[in-house]
Every structure is written in C-alpha cells, then in structure tokens.
C-alpha cells in the first residue's frame, strides 16, 4: 500500500499523455459514464444529499412524521433548541470531550508512541494491545465499562469492597457520570491516536535527530526542540479526529448511561435521538441535525483554512 500516492492531484500524469489517451478512447466514453456513474450518484443523492436538504426543510415545521408537514413554525425549533437545558449540557459535554482530548488523549498518545517506537522487545505487541480497544464496537466497549464501573458486581465495586466500604455508582450520579464516560472515551480511542503519532514519528528524518545528538542535545531537548515541532501536523490531525469523533458520539453513551442521569451525559447526537427520534418530533430533531451539520461543515472548512495552509 506504500505506493498509494495520497494527494495524487500533484502527481497527475503528464498532460500530453493524457490528452492522447483520451483522444484514442473517446468513442467509448459514453457507455462508461452511463454505466459507472449513476449507481453511486443515485445512492448518494437519495440517501445523503436529499435527506440533508430535507432536514433543513423539515426543521421549519412542527411535524410528527405522518402525511405531509403543514404546520409551519419558522425558526421556532431552533429557538427551542438553544433554550433547552439538555442541549446546552450536550454542547458543554461535546466541548469537554475535545478538552480532554487535547489535555490527556493527545499527550498520552504521543508519549506512548515515542515509547513503542524505541528498539525494545515487545514493542509491536504493545502497539497491538493499545490499538485493540479501537477495533471493538462502541456498544461493546460501553457495556464492558458499564460492568467495570458497576458498584455491586463490577471492578470498581470489587476494589471498594476490598477496603470494606460501599462502592460509588459513578454512572448513576449526575456529578460523576460524565467524567466516567470521558475515561471510557480515552480508553477506547487513545490507541488510534497513538498510531497516528507512530506514523508521524516514522516520517521524521533520523539524520536531524542524530545531528541534534552530536550537538549534545539531551533526550528531553531532542524531543522538545526537534521531535515535537516536527509532529505539528500529526497533532492537528489527531485533534481534528477528536473533534469529529466527539460530534458523532452516540453508540458508546447509550449502553453506558443512556444519556442520563438527568441528561448529564447528553451529546449532540444523543440529544437528537432522545428528543427528536424517540418522540418522533421530526421538525425539532431535524433542526438539531441542521445545527450539527452547520457545526461540522464550519469545522471542516475552518480546519482547512487555519491548519492545512502550511502543510
């Protein structure tokens, strides 16, 4: 797979060769267009593009999903969303996930990546183990941690019982539930971010590090002054995935807390599900979808603008 030119726009075939080939094959151009494009085009339009447009349309109505939307309410749904306390919790929680990712996940992943790229025995085994949680389904990981956190039968319960005290039920307490969820998120995803950093580290030219060594740099100085600046693009990539992941977080929350207790662990998508899908409030739910869409697209564009400029 190492031969895949990733940004191949820049490695395009010589213009001359391409012009020649397209002239030769021109007669066969229409059959291929008519056969090859429509399946993808149809699927994408029907199940991605139109639903997104419809979400924008439905968001202006109060509608239960049957017959046709007739009760026009204008921007009322959006007003209701931002007045909703659970939605504000969801926004804060999504923010928290991003903060945790910056403060804990990225440093942890980078630290582990620097360790498993050292020439020690078992480095590959450690990489595999660390990546393991990432390939598990969110639902399974959520259930496993529901067990771990269980104060009666779980691991937390067991530890507390060993000291002869009653264990807390973190997931059932609205003050601790989100912290517990954040722990699971780091557990599940740090391995993926570590892989990004390993790839970033492997791309660093060894000669630069050797030069620093000859100049008498200590291990920490080498890391801070050479490795870290050269990992800049990986850090940004890692953060980008953390943000995108946070905006989609749903599967793991449902088995852990079901977005409770008292909406304490709502995220954008669980909010959409609890208030839009469960109650079949198509208008309201679509409006949440539109807000989510606007956030995603803004992020995608500003990320390109701000961060990719010098990469």
């Amino acid at each position: 797979m190492s031969t895949v030119p990733i940004a191949s726009d820049r490695v395009a075939a010589p213009a001359l060769a391409r012009r020649r080939s397209s002239a030769i094959g021109a007669q066969g151009k229409w059959p291929v267009l008519i056969l090859f494009l429509p399946p993808a085009l149809l699927l994408f339009t029907v199940f991605v593009f139109l639903p997104m447009g419809e979400a924008a349309w439905y968001s202006l109505y109060n509608w239960n999903g049957y017959s046709l939307p007739t009760q026009w309410v204008g921007l009322k749904n959006f007003e209701l969303i931002f007045k909703n306390a659970a939605f504000r919790t969801a926004l804060v929680n999504n923010g928290l996930i991003i903060v945790i990712s910056i403060c804990i996940q990225v440093p942890l992943a980078m630290w582990l990546a620097t360790m498993v790229t050292k020439p020690i025995r078992g480095a590959v085994a450690f990489r595999l183990i660390f990546f393991l949680p990432y390939i598990l389904a969110d639902v399974a990981a959520g259930l496993i941690w529901r067990f771990v956190y269980d104060g009666q039968f779980g691991l937390v319960g067991s530890i507390w019982h060993a000291f002869g005290v009653d264990a807390p039920f973190w997931l059932a307490d609205k003050n601790t539930a989100m912290a517990a969820v954040l722990g699971v998120i780091v557990w599940k995803y740090f391995g993926f971010h570590m892989m990004l950093f390993i790839a970033g580290l492997q791309a660093i030219d060894r000669e630069v590090l050797e030069a620093a060594e000859i100049d008498g740099a200590t291990g920490w100085q080498k890391f801070r002054l050479v490795t870290l600046p050269m990992l800049g693009s990986t850090v940004r990539l890692s953060l980008f995935f953390a943000v995108v992941g946070s905006l989609q977080l749903f599967d793991m929350i449902m088995p852990l807390t079901g977005a409770g207790p008292l909406n304490a662990t709502q995220t954008m998508v669980t909010f959409l599900y609890t208030f839009g899908v469960m109650r079949m409030q198509v208008g309201f739910g679509s409006a949440v979808g539109v807000v989510l869409f606007v956030i995603c697209v803004t992020l995608a564009f500003s990320y390109r603008r701000i961060f990719m400029r010098n990469d």
Binding site: M1, S2, T3, P5, I6, S8, A13, A17, S21, S22, I24, G25, G28, K29, V32, F36, L37, A40, L43, F44, F47, L50, P51, A55, Y58, G65, V116, K118, P119, I120, R127, F130, L132, I135, L136, A137, D138, A140, L143, I144, F147, V148, G154, G157, F192, L196, A199, Q202, A203, R206, S233, M254, P255, L272, Y273, G276, G289, L292, F293, A300
Partner: protein, 296 residues
C-alpha cells in the same frame, strides 16, 4: 501533509524507528516497561475480567470480580452458543456487512474510475459533490433518512440499513479509489487503448486487478464500520429477528438486567470474532483503518 504518514507498516517492527540502532540503557528500559505494562494492564484488565466474568456465578462475580472463577460455569457460554439468538445476530451482522462492502466497493470503484480516467464536463464538480459526504455524519440527517426509508418501504429490511451505509461510505471510497487509479502509470492506459481496449475492459482487466490493495482498504473500512454500527439499525429495524449484534446485545442487556455473568458471556462471544480477526490480520486492519482516516 498526508504523504508523510507511512501507514502501512504501523504494526511492523519499524526499520526507520526514530531511535533505532541505539541501545536503550537499563534504567530507561525499566521505565519504559513499567509505563507500558501499566497502560497495557488498563487496556487488558477490563477485557479479561469480562471474559472470566462470563464463567462465574453471580455471587462469585460479586465477591471476586478480578480473580479466576471458583467453579467454571461453562454453561453460561454453552447456553448462548447452543441457542439461536447469538448465531442469528452474528448472521444478520454478517449479511448487512457483506452487502455494504460489496456495494461500497462496486459503486465506489466505478464512480472513481470515471473521475480518474474519463474526461467529461463537470467531472470536478461532481467529485466535490461526493466529497461533501465526508463532512458530516449520518446522524445529522437521521430523521429525514428514516422517513425516506419508510416511504420506500424498506423499513425493517436489511436494505434499509445497507443503502444509507453505502451512501455515507461512498465519499471515502471514491476518494481512495480515485487517488489509487490516478497513481497508476499512464503508459498502461495508452498501451491498452492502442491495443483497442475500451474503458470497460480496461476497468475490469487492468484497473481492478491492480487495485487489490485499495479494494482491501475500502473493504476493511466499510466492513468494520458496518459490523460495529448501531444508530442506523437502531432506527431502521423493528423486529428482533433482523437485529445485528450491537442491537441484539442491548436487548439482551435489557432482558437480563443484573445477571451480569450472562451479559458478560454474551459480550465476550460477540467481540470474540472481532478480536480473532484482528490478531490474524492486524497489519492489514491497522493499515486500513488508519489509512482511511488519514487520507480523508
């Protein structure tokens, strides 16, 4: 920036490892192993205790969550394995995943081929149209999607889950395929056309066989995504006989509530295929999953 990431040898011993060649001192080595072992324990302990918990009685679990079972309750696992439910859920997941993979590869490769090799008016615009799908998750449009599937009469069918999954996977699939096709030497193309080979035959006999690595990447990405997906089947499927395992496991949890030993056995059995396949094909899977992410 993405060129810098050599994603294919992440699971291999790194020949270009940053500090390879230099021996690591004894003190450093001790520090490394202690740190790595602690983190590894945090990853492994929940998984191992889950698997062991499935062999325990509820009382045993309560008094001894970490240790080995006093009596090995093989029946917990055996009852699940001899029952219908587990196999039906695995089968459902497999059918949905295989359909998703096949359609994603077929539609993605064909569309990408036209973008890579055929010059036509609006090709650039159309490509960007598909890439739009990379920017937002399926959850944003989940309600209109539900209504569309309902109106098409696909609610509570495998297709109701498969088609949206394929549609949302197309952006990535087209991007990966197109980049790969364009990277192939243009001499191949010229030679084929001089010999009178048309686009269709070129696609089938040249492009596709040469694109096997990227077919594998797209296949792994869409398979893992579909195998683990929860929100789409949750909304599109009603009857339990069609539930894939992530939904089934939640129903199971709801039924057995605090019979944790049974739930743990069930979780273990459902994640077992994933773990086995991961260790068998770890290099491809890690490369596939990180490549998919990185190249977006």
């Amino acid at each position: 920036m993405t060129e810098a990431l050599a994603t294919d040898d992440l699971a291999a011993p790194s020949h270009r490892a940053v500090e390879s060649g230099r021996r690591v001192g004894a003190a450093t080595q001790a520090y490394l192993y202690v740190s790595l072992l602690i983190v590894a324990a945090i990853v492994i302990v929940p998984l191992v205790t889950t698997a062991l918990g499935g062999f325990k009685t509820l009382g045993d679990l309560r008094s001894n969550a970490f240790g080995l079972p006093h009596d090995w309750m093989w029946s917990n696992y055996w009852d699940i394995l001899t029952g219908n439910r587990y196999w039906r859920q695995m089968g459902n997941s497999l059918i949905i995943a295989l359909l998703t993979v096949a359609l994603t590869i077929a539609c993605g490769a064909m569309a990408a081929f036209t973008f890579a090799h055929v010059k036509f008016f609006g090709s650039r615009m159309l490509l960007n149209y598909f890439l739009l799908g990379l920017m937002f998750p399926a959850a944003t449009a989940i309600l209109p999607l539900f209504i569309r599937i309902r109106d098409l009469g696909l609610l509570d069918t495998y297709w109701g889950v498969v088609l949206p999954q394929v549609a949302f996977g197309l952006g990535m699939s087209i991007l990966l395929f197109r980049n790969y096709f364009r990277g192939m030497p243009s001499e191949l193309f010229d030679a084929a056309f001089v010999d009178g080979c048309g686009y269709l035959r070129f696609f089938w006999y040249v492009s596709l066989p040469l694109a096997r690595p990227i077919v594998a990447t797209v296949g792994i990405l869409s398979f893992v995504g579909s195998w683990n997906s929860y929100i789409l089947p949750l909304i599109m499927l009603n009857s339990e006989s069609k539930y894939p395992w992530p939904l089934g496991i939640m129903v199971y949890k709801g039924e057995f509530m605090t019979d944790w030993q049974l739930i743990l056995a069930f979780i273990t059995l459902t994640i077992l295929p994933t773990i086995i396949v991961f260790f068998l094909a770890q290099r491809h899977i890690i490369a596939g999953l990180t490549a998919g992410a990185v190249k977006s």
